[in-house]
């Protein structure tokens, strides 16, 4: 990793630790104060970010970008229904690996800080479209209305899964993963929906 990126990662990690300890509402944390707590010059912080909101939206986008690339490539390369089916399972595994320890803070920020809300809404639209394509390819033969209904259910399940994973450690995330994907598969095979 380049020295510049390493410094950025270190600053994010320390900023998140400090924010967690302060137990303050995120929008009340001032940037100069944060620099003081991190014992670094403000200029070092502003080299990467302009506000606390920037730190959070950067983290949110980083994870989304990686998952989106993974899904886009997976979908492009999936030739068979089984490959498309596997994509949902592997994408959730990827999410488990990607989410850092401070994901609970990022999750909270996405409900209030304007840039984070915007990113959350954008990502939700993207996931909805992409899950629909995956379901269509992985479980062929469904009519459009069924596809729409099932996409909504998968989308809401994924967001529930994301919330859970953001708040627990990697071990607990992995423990629930198999049950979660089994349940998703079971639902997508449900004859009531055909």
């Amino acid at each position: 990793m380049k020295a510049h990126i390493q410094r950025k990662v270190k600053i994010i990690q320390r900023a998140m630790d400090s924010i967690r300890i302060s137990d303050k509402t995120l929008h009340t944390i001032s940037f100069p104060r944060l620099a003081q707590e991190l014992e670094i010059p403000l200029s070092e912080l502003t080299e990467f970010f302009l506000s606390v909101e920037d730190i959070f939206v950067n983290e949110q986008k980083r994870v989304n970008r990686k998952i989106e690339n993974f899904l886009d490539n997976g979908l492009k390369n999936a030739k068979t229904a089984n490959e498309a089916k596997d994509l949902l399972e592997t994408a959730t595994l990827k999410l488990i690996e990607l989410l850092p320890d401070y994901s609970d803070l990022v999750f909270s920020a996405s409900f209030y800080l304007p840039k984070c809300i915007e990113e959350r809404n954008r990502a939700k639209k993207y996931y909805k479209q992409t899950f629909r394509k995956i379901i269509k390819k992985g479980w062929p033969g469904k009519i459009d209305t069924v596809l729409d209904r099932q996409t909504d259910l998968i989308l809401l399940s994924m967001y529930g899964f994301y919330e859970y994973c953001a708040k627990v450690g990697k071990r607990e995330r992995k423990a629930i993963h198999k049950d979660f994907t089994n349940m998703i598969n079971l639902h997508l095979q449900d004859r009531l929906f055909f």
Partner: protein, 194 residues
């Protein structure tokens, strides 16, 4: 608590939510402005709330306590597996029916404000315990581990469901509720879990 007090508290919550809807900023919610709009003194409001966070926390508690009371009544009178299954279903119906117009903003605050997050987590455990009890009695024959895994999974999905449903129009909520309940039922009957 006197009816007039309850009314005043409800009105304060409504004004705070309206203000948040307009300005999108928590710090723009002013006790003085709310008091003026309601024609009461600031002291009357600060008798119940000391901060804006308190307003949202109390509203969150009130909604959940009412829902739990309703749910408990159904659980208490359940005798057969069918009754327990029904109590499980009734909870989701009641949850959707009683969602307020401003459920989206209330959810956002419950995921963002520190005191509200703490309450949300505590309540999540309470909901999970009740799910476990209902699954045990409604779908008998599962061992403890299966019960724990399934109640965790149902809780994960329910929290994803909350996030989804508060952001869609009222008319669409009932439709997705039916699909969501079917999905949970299918999962709870899954033979792999026995």
């Amino acid at each position: 608590m006197k009816k007039s007090t309850v009314n005043l508290k409800d009105k304060v919550v409504k004004r705070a939510v309206n203000s948040l809807r307009k300005s999108k900023r928590i710090e723009q919610i002013s006790f003085i402005a709310i008091a003026n709009e309601l024609n009461v003194s600031v002291e009357e409001i600060s008798e119940f709330y000391t901060t804006t966070e308190d307003i949202f926390l109390e509203a969150q508690k009130k909604d959940w306590e009412s829902l739990h009371r309703y749910w408990d009544r159904h659980i208490k009178k359940s005798k057969t597996p069918g009754d327990f299954k029904n109590a499980f279903e009734v909870f989701f119906e009641r949850f959707v029916e009683t969602l307020s117009e401003d459920a989206d903003l209330r959810l956002e605050m419950s995921c963002y404000l520190p005191k509200c997050i703490k309450y949300r987590e505590k309540n999540r455990q309470k909901v999970k315990q009740k799910f476990e009890k209902l699954i045990k009695r409604g779908w008998p024959g599962k061992d403890i581990k299966v019960l724990e895994r399934q109640s965790e999974l149902v809780t994960v999905l329910f929290y994803g469901f909350i996030d989804h449903i508060v952001h869609i129009p009222k008319t669409e909520r009932t439709k997705i509720l039916r699909d969501f309940r079917n999905m949970l039922n299918l999962h709870l009957q899954d033979r792999k879990f026995f």
